[in-house]
């Protein structure tokens, strides 16, 4: 019989011990937040200095004036943007891609005519939301558009120049939006996994399991209390990371109850997987190595730091066999894309993997020897 009292007793003694161990606490809770701060700062931090922007002026001019040229030279005098001219005959998107650039401005063909006759016209601003420079470009262009709107036309008119944004090969989300689910996935993986690999092999070596087997505590109860603790830790880490993402980087995150299955199944899966690795290996050293072999591909290839879509096809296929993939993809589906039907598929796959691994861990894990 599974006893709640024993699970709670084991949970209490384990969590108190965990909280007293500053090292574990750091890696479980603080480290992922530091990663968010570091990566967030690298990819969306305030870049200073001028941004090189490719510009294409397709404006043919009107009434002896080329407003497009005027606009671009005004822009070039700003402190934030340096204009690089692209020939009007080029395909602009291809040109940007060929030059590994994401920031660009295109002035349309009838810009002068529309402007001078008071027709609404849009300047297209290319940018990659994952790049920190695109905000600067959009902001600067917006400022000069206001200036042009105010100065070159009748005072009582509505704004006639607008901004149309376009992207080159990226989705409409920012890097931080994507980074938060990724790093939550990262901490769901690493904290229970490393911890349980270590605990289970160490307890086996110093005979703590043998000792616990002499009490009424069952191995199922023992593993359950560990899973419970890592669920608590995961939820605490989740709140911390989402908080930092929102307040420090203005991340756009959808919070929904659909996140809960991932925050519960994830730690359960990786605690059990860690347990399994510690159980089937002979000593802590081997367990550590096998643990790393299992963990590292997931740490980097399951959509934690980089989107899967940016990886080559064969790696994308490989990612689909990594259990963590279904955690990060599911978190992205809920938090970023708000796509619940797809998230349900991830939950289903994850639940099956978790049940199998958990059952296997409980079965193979031995309190006593024969």
């Amino acid at each position: 019989m599974v006893s709640g009292k024993r699970i709670y007793a084991d949970f209490k003694v384990f969590s108190v011990g965990y909280l007293r161990n500053k090292f574990g606490l750091f890696f479980g809770l603080i480290f992922p937040v530091i990663l968010i701060l570091i990566f967030g700062a690298i990819f969306s931090g305030g870049t200073t200095g001028t941004v090189n922007v490719y510009t294409q002026n397709q404006d043919t001019g009107a009434l002896g004036q080329n407003i497009g040229d005027n606009f671009l030279s005004a822009l070039n005098e700003s402190t934030t943007i340096r204009v690089i001219t692209v020939n009007a005959s080029e395909n602009f998107a291809d040109y940007l891609a060929a030059h590994s650039a994401s920031d660009g401005i295109v002035i349309p063909q009838n810009f002068s005519t529309d402007y001078l006759t008071g027709h609404q016209v849009n300047i297209t601003v290319y940018g990659n939301p994952a790049s920190s420079t695109s905000g600067i470009v959009t902001g600067t262009v917006g400022g000069y558009i206001n200036y042009f709107n105010l100065n070159y036309y009748q005072r009582n008119a509505t704004a006639i120049i607008g901004i149309k944004s376009a992207t080159v090969n990226t989705q409409q989300t920012t890097y931080v939006d994507f980074l938060i689910p990724g790093l939550i996935g990262f901490s769901i993986l690493t904290s229970p996994m490393f911890s349980l690999v270590n605990i289970s092999s160490e307890y086996k070596k110093n005979k703590l399991f043998k000792q616990l087997s002499l009490t009424p505590l069952t191995k199922m109860e023992w593993l359950t209390s560990k899973v419970m603790w890592y669920i608590v830790l995961t939820i605490a880490g989740f709140l911390l990371m989402v908080g930092v993402g929102i307040f420090a980087f203005g991340a756009h995150v959808t919070l929904s109850l659909w996140l809960l299955p991932f925050l519960v199944l994830g730690p359960m899966l990786f605690a059990a997987l860690g347990m399994l690795v510690g159980t089937v290996t002979k000593n802590p050293e081997t367990a550590g190595v096998i643990g790393n072999i299992v963990t590292f591909p997931m740490m980097f290839l399951a959509g934690t730091f980089f989107p899967i879509s940016s990886m080559p096809d064969y790696l994308q296929m490989f990612a689909h066999v990594l259990p963590l993939f279904y955690v990060t993809e599911g978190l992205n589906n809920v938090m970023v894309y708000n796509n619940i039907p797809n998230a349900l598929i991830d939950i289903a796959v994850l639940a099956v993997i978790t049940v199998v691994i958990f059952a296997l861990a409980v079965k193979l894990f031995k309190w006593r020897e024969d």
Binding site: G17, Y18, R20, K207, Q211, T215
Partner: protein, 319 residues
């Protein structure tokens, strides 16, 4: 019903006969010492009794239960401190006791148990900051949480300094005074002698002697002997002029005469005096448990009480 009944117990690891058909019983309230060099099979035996290892043959009844099949039941009734006891690093002895109390679903007074094992001072220290002796005492404390009548102590003082060992002995004596039945393994002869009512000496998986220490000495010791410091010539002279059996130990320069009757000593001394040769320092001696142990156990112990090749066998066995 006797608390412990062991009949022809066997455990093999491949070709190695770790425990090779041993039998013994232990009475209520008795302290029973399993003595032997490392690798003699003590821990394998005690772990089979605790239900931690399955036996390969023979019969085993602990408190009337089969320890392997009814382990879960048995563990509620016994107390165990395994060899080299360890616990969660950041847990204090008091927390550990309360943790065990919750697992066993019993109410205990943690302070009383701490007092029983003389660990009150360290109640609030994390386990990893305790000394070796204090760690063992924590183990003892935990083995008492379910108020067991039967305790298994597997090498409770191995690796401890002499003061810590004596402190543990004090605790064990206290438990004995409370009427607990205790099985104790040790490779320290003095420990077995100090604490046990009866001792079984194990070697190569077999019991080579069993009884009170006095009985073992009587059965396996050489009895009283006279030792005279002198030369080989003197030894020969005594041998030629008396009916006595005379041995000579060259390296020590001792003439050794087993005394079947007290009066034999007088005859030997008279002959020595008669010889006109020099002789000094006389003493009568009796085998100690140490002497008997060395005789019975195939390989002598080194200073730590470990027999070299036995230690290797022990490692092989535990794999």
């Amino acid at each position: 019903m006797l608390p412990i009944e062991v009949t022809s117990l066997k455990k093999y690891y491949g070709d190695l006969k770790a425990v090779d058909g041993i039998s013994f019983t232990v009475k209520q309230g008795e302290v029973f010492g399993l003595l032997g060099p490392n690798g003699a099979g003590k821990t394998t035996t005690i772990e089979m009794m605790e239900g931690l290892r399955e036996r390969d043959g023979g019969d085993l009844k602990i408190l009337g239960l089969d320890p392997w099949k009814n382990g879960y039941e048995l563990h509620k009734k016994i107390g165990v401190i395994p060899q080299e006891f360890t616990f969660f690093e950041k847990t204090t002895p008091r927390e550990a006791i309360n943790y065990y109390a919750n697992l066993f679903n019993v109410k205990v007074d943690a302070d009383e148990i701490l007092k029983m094992v003389m660990l009150e001072d360290m109640a609030k220290h994390h386990f990893d900051s305790l000394s070796g002796g204090q760690k063992q005492k924590t183990g003892l404390a935990l083995s008492l949480v379910n108020s067991p009548e039967l305790l298994f102590l597997d090498e409770p003082t191995t690796g401890l300094d002499p003061n810590a060992r004596r402190a543990i002995w004090e605790v064990i004596r206290g438990l004995k005074a409370r009427g607990k039945t205790i099985i104790l393994t040790t490779h320290y002869l003095d420990e077995a002698q100090q604490l046990s009512d009866r001792v079984a000496i194990m070697d190569h998986g077999k019991i080579v002697a069993m009884g009170t220490t006095d009985e073992i000495i009587q059965q396996h010791g050489s009895g009283e002997r006279l030792e005279i410091h002198g030369t080989q010539q003197l030894a020969d002279y005594i041998k030629a002029n008396t009916e006595l059996q005379v041995d000579y130990n060259k390296s020590r320069g001792e003439i050794i005469i087993p005394l079947h009757k007290k009066i034999d000593a007088l005859a030997a001394l008279a002959a020595a005096e008669q010889s006109g040769m020099d002789w000094g320092h006389i003493q009568t001696l009796q085998d100690s448990l140490d002497d008997v142990f060395v005789k019975l156990v195939s390989e002598p112990l080194d200073e730590q009480g470990e027999a070299e090749s036995e230690g290797k066998a022990d490692k092989k066995r535990r794999r």
